[in-house]
């Protein structure tokens, strides 16, 4: 299998990679926090998070805090291990290129 085929296409998309990288260093974070950290717009985050949720990489929790709605995201175990693998493959690819 070539390097290209071994890369996780779901994670390789830049916005999703940034979102997953940020989620990988915390336990969970809400929509606003991710938006502040990544600079991505609300529409972008919603779109990419639904893709990650479909892939089983992210758990989404919707709740009300007081009167305000809050959407919280958490990386699943599957998502965490996929991200670790993806990083290792990228590193391999870049190391071979040296």
């Amino acid at each position: 299998m070539s390097f290209v085929e071994r890369l996780d296409r779901c994670l390789h998309e830049p916005a999703r990679l940034v979102l997953v990288a940020n989620l990988s260093v915390v336990d969970e974070a809400d929509f606003l926090f991710l938006s502040r950290q990544t600079g991505l717009t609300a529409g972008n985050i919603s779109f990419h998070m639904s893709k990650l949720e479909e892939a089983g990489y992210v758990d989404v929790r919707k709740e009300f805090v007081g009167k305000k709605p809050r959407t919280t995201y958490r990386l699943t175990d599957e998502g965490r291990s996929a991200f670790t693998q993806h990083r290792e493959r990228l590193k391999e690819l870049l190391d071979v290129g040296r």
Binding site: V25, V26, A29, L32, F33, R36, K68, T72, R87, K91
Partner: protein, 201 residues
């Protein structure tokens, strides 16, 4: 840099950004202002003013979570960071208790007529400032922030000046407090400007 280092650096950056709102500076500065003001009154109970953080910390936490979370969003840090925070705040709490005990001891020894206090009297005006500087250095260690190193250095230098001039320590603590409050307000205004409350999700 290894993969782990990259993620640690990312986590560190995210954490720093999420804790650079100036609220801690503001409350620490207010504590110094209160302490300086109480000290200037020259009450026998001035030493108890060092317990003010115990009252200010809950107010600070409640205010911070309302002000900061509504602008920056909610985050639950990963287990290693939560453990580190817990360890740092415990260290800070223990430092605060030690600071209080040292201040009490100095106050007690200073009031005893049978103990020779020549040296103590010479450095007495600076003792509280140096103890507070140690407190600021402890906060710098807990939060890994250079600002508190600067505040600690300012307090230590002001305490040394107080000793050299044999002046009232309360004033130097009050002035340092006002400087820290000003720094906190500037950071808070910047934070509020950079992160306005969003209309909704």
């Amino acid at each position: 840099m290894t993969n782990r280092d990259v993620l640690t650096a990312l986590e560190d950056r995210v954490y720093r950004r999420a804790t650079s709102d100036g609220m801690i500076d503001l409350f620490y500065g207010l504590f110094l202002v209160c302490l300086g003001t109480v000290w200037i009154w020259q009450s026998d109970f001035s030493v108890f003013a060092i317990l003010l953080p115990a009252g200010l910390i809950p107010i600070g936490i409640a205010t911070r979570s309302r002000f900061v979370e509504s602008r920056l969003g909610y985050v639950k840090w990963a287990e290693p960071r939560r453990k580190l925070e817990q360890r740092d705040w415990t260290t800070l709490l223990v430092s605060g208790v030690l600071l209080f005990l040292v201040a009490m001891t100095f106050s007690f020894v200073g009031n005893r007529s049978d103990v020779s206090t020549d040296i103590l009297e010479a450095v007495a005006p600076g003792i509280m400032g140096w103890l507070l500087a140690m407190g600021a250095f402890a906060v710098a260690g807990a939060l890994r922030t250079r600002r508190f190193l600067a505040y600690g250095s300012l307090l230590a230098a002001a305490a040394a000046m107080t000793v050299l001039r044999n002046s009232e320590p309360g004033w130097s603590i009050l002035v340092c407090g006002l400087v820290v409050v000003a720094a906190g307000v500037v950071m808070l205004v910047r934070f509020a400007r950079d992160y306005p409350v969003p209309a909704g999700e």
